[in-house]
């Protein structure tokens, strides 16, 4: 029974390094170590309390195939009973937390750190010049490169264009997501765009990356590390912070062609997670939804049933998900306006909100929060339902 895991485990620690153009460490491992130490301090635990370590390496880990073992050795952790290097793209963070909770509930581990870190940004260097010769573009092979189809932005754009065509979704609807989340970021001192307000005109005037995506439809790039500590609900109650209970968890990976389905795995994951938590959509006080693009938020809102399929655009009108709206979504600014730590961005913000530590951006009611992770192009999906009470 899925219900057996309801509130059995909790998040007891959150460790977040400075984000963005942070050059404190020369590689992802350095950020990972700092994040785990911060999370342990936050929970009031010691390194020796850890017996589980799950790692989602970002794109720049040098030994990504066994990242969790590399990190274990680098931190001098001994006698672990659970470890794994996991990768479901943006769905990994919530999936790591599920895996930790399953192991803890089964008595196979007690205190598990779940970690994401990446360091794609390099300090500015006068020797490195922009551009380069065509010979340097080793990635440009195959037919797609001949047609000029490069990168994930361009492939995601195909999916967004289909949604706009089929349902009449407009550019302004994508803009609503960008502007609303920027409004939240302006209330979050840790956000990379904290000091940069943005209007719909600003959004529309920003350069195109690939139509239909303007610059601010696309997520940030960040250096940093983020870790959470998962333990049993019982143990969490003895630690420094009020536990953030794991009420529900689920995954959904629908397969197929996202240009055809225009749907994430959220409906599958929701069924399991909401069933476990014993809640409905009306119980959700706030949502932290994976936002590699504005469009992803729009689709995810549809797929959880906040509105009907195809009605995500009109649903967003009038700043509904912004700081003055009726449904608080991505309340720290999300990956579009705060920082990009894959699925850890929504997880971290949800913890801060559940604890009531969000300062000027604190949502008034924070008993039940929804967190989503999404990887690839609507390819993988994970759901967490967090609760302030068991």
């Amino acid at each position: 029974m899925a219900g057996d895991l309801r509130a059995k485990c909790a998040i007891a620690g959150l460790g977040q390094t400075a984000m963005g153009k942070n050059f404190d460490h020369s590689n992802a491992m350095g950020f990972a170590i700092e994040a785990v130490q911060l999370a342990l301090d936050d929970a009031g635990l010691k390194r020796s309390d850890l017996d589980g370590l799950l790692v989602n390496p970002g794109v720049t880990w040098s030994e990504a195939t066994m990242a969790s073992f590399s990190l274990q050795q680098a931190m001098g952790l001994t006698d672990l009973t659970l470890t794994a290097t996991m990768n479901l793209g943006g769905a990994t963070a919530a999936a790591m937390i599920m895996h930790a909770a399953q192991a803890i509930a089964a008595g196979m581990a007690n205190v598990v750190a779940c970690v994401f870190a990446d360091a794609p940004l390099r300090p500015p260097s006068p020797e490195r010049k922009a551009g380069g010769s065509a010979a340097a573009y080793g990635f440009a092979r195959g037919l797609n490169a001949h047609y000029g189809q490069f990168g994930v932005n361009a492939a995601y754009a195909f999916v967004a264009q289909r949604h706009m065509h089929l349902y009449g979704t407009r550019q302004d609807h994508l803009g609503e997501v960008a502007v609303s989340q920027r409004g939240w970021a302006n209330l979050n001192p840790a956000a990379q765009f904290h000091d940069a307000p943005m209007t719909m005109d600003d959004y529309n005037r920003a350069r195109w990356v690939v139509e239909p995506f303007h610059l601010y439809d696309c997520c940030l790039v960040s250096n940093g590390g983020l870790a959470v500590i998962v333990t049993s609900a019982e143990r969490a109650r003895t630690l420094k912070h009020p536990p953030v209970y794991l009420l529900g968890m689920g995954q959904g990976h629908a397969g197929g062609d996202p240009m055809e389905t225009l749907t994430s795995g959220a409906p599958l994951a929701k069924k399991i997670a909401f069933g476990m938590a014993g809640i409905t959509l009306d119980d959700i006080n706030f949502a932290e939804l994976y936002d590699c693009y504005t469009f992803t938020v729009l689709v995810t809102l549809e797929d959880y049933g906040f509105c009907k399929k195809g009605e995500g655009g009109p649903f967003l009108e009038g700043g509904r998900i912004g700081p003055k709206g009726s449904l608080p979504v991505n309340t720290g600014g999300g990956q579009l306006s705060s920082f990009y730590m894959w699925g850890m961005t929504p997880v971290a913000e949800a913890i801060v909100q559940m604890r009531g530590e969000a300062g000027p951006r604190q949502v008034p009611k924070h008993d039940v929060g929804l967190v989503s992770g999404n990887g690839g192009i609507l390819s993988t999906h994970s759901t967490l339902i967090l609760g302030a009470q068991p």
């Binding site: 551009g131 010769s133 065509a134 573009y137 440009a140 092979r141 195959g142 037919l143 797609n144 490169a145 001949h146 047609y147 000029g148 189809q149 490069f150 990168g151 361009a154 754009a157 195909f158 999916v159 264009q161 289909r162 065509h165 350069r207 195109w208 990356v209 690939v210 139509e211 239909p212 062609d257 240009m259």
Partner: protein, 138 residues
């Protein structure tokens, strides 16, 4: 930099049949010999019936625009003089989707559902690539 060429696709073993067809003026896809499913790009196994037998077959070369984007960033110097340019997804009458370029249509005039047909561009003695152009609906 301004004179940089677009990347020329390499003829890999799994794509050999495709490029042989293109040289003859045929747009090829793989057809599974197990269940008849048509697919592109080629795969070792059919994702529907898991058969490992397939052969290249010519298509009608006709289809319609299924989706598109307009690229504004220069990811490769060969496109520096072309931005903004459109990349289209064409759904062939036979089913498979094909990423390509649309010739003779400005990006702002591209519409999903536009009927298109294949045309070929010879890049070298060995490499000919398919592109698409509008066709009248028939």
């Amino acid at each position: 930099m301004a004179s940089a060429e677009k990347p020329v696709p390499a003829i890999t073993p799994e794509m050999a049949g495709f490029f042989e067809g293109a040289k003859r003026g045929q747009l090829m896809v793989e057809r599974c010999e197990g269940c008849g499913e048509m697919r592109f790009p080629p795969h070792e196994l059919c994702s529907r019936c898991l058969s490992d037998r397939a052969k290249w077959v010519p298509t009608s070369g006709r289809g319609e625009v299924f989706s598109f984007n307009v690229m504004h960033q220069v990811y490769h110097p060969g496109f520096a003089a072309e931005v903004p340019y459109a990349v289209v997804v064409v759904r062939l009458e036979e089913g498979p989707k094909f990423v390509s370029n649309l010739i003779g249509v400005q990006p702002a005039d591209i519409r999903i559902g536009m009927p298109v047909e294949v045309t070929f561009e010879r890049l070298s003695a060995d490499v000919t690539v398919p592109k698409f152009r509008p066709r009248s609906r028939s």
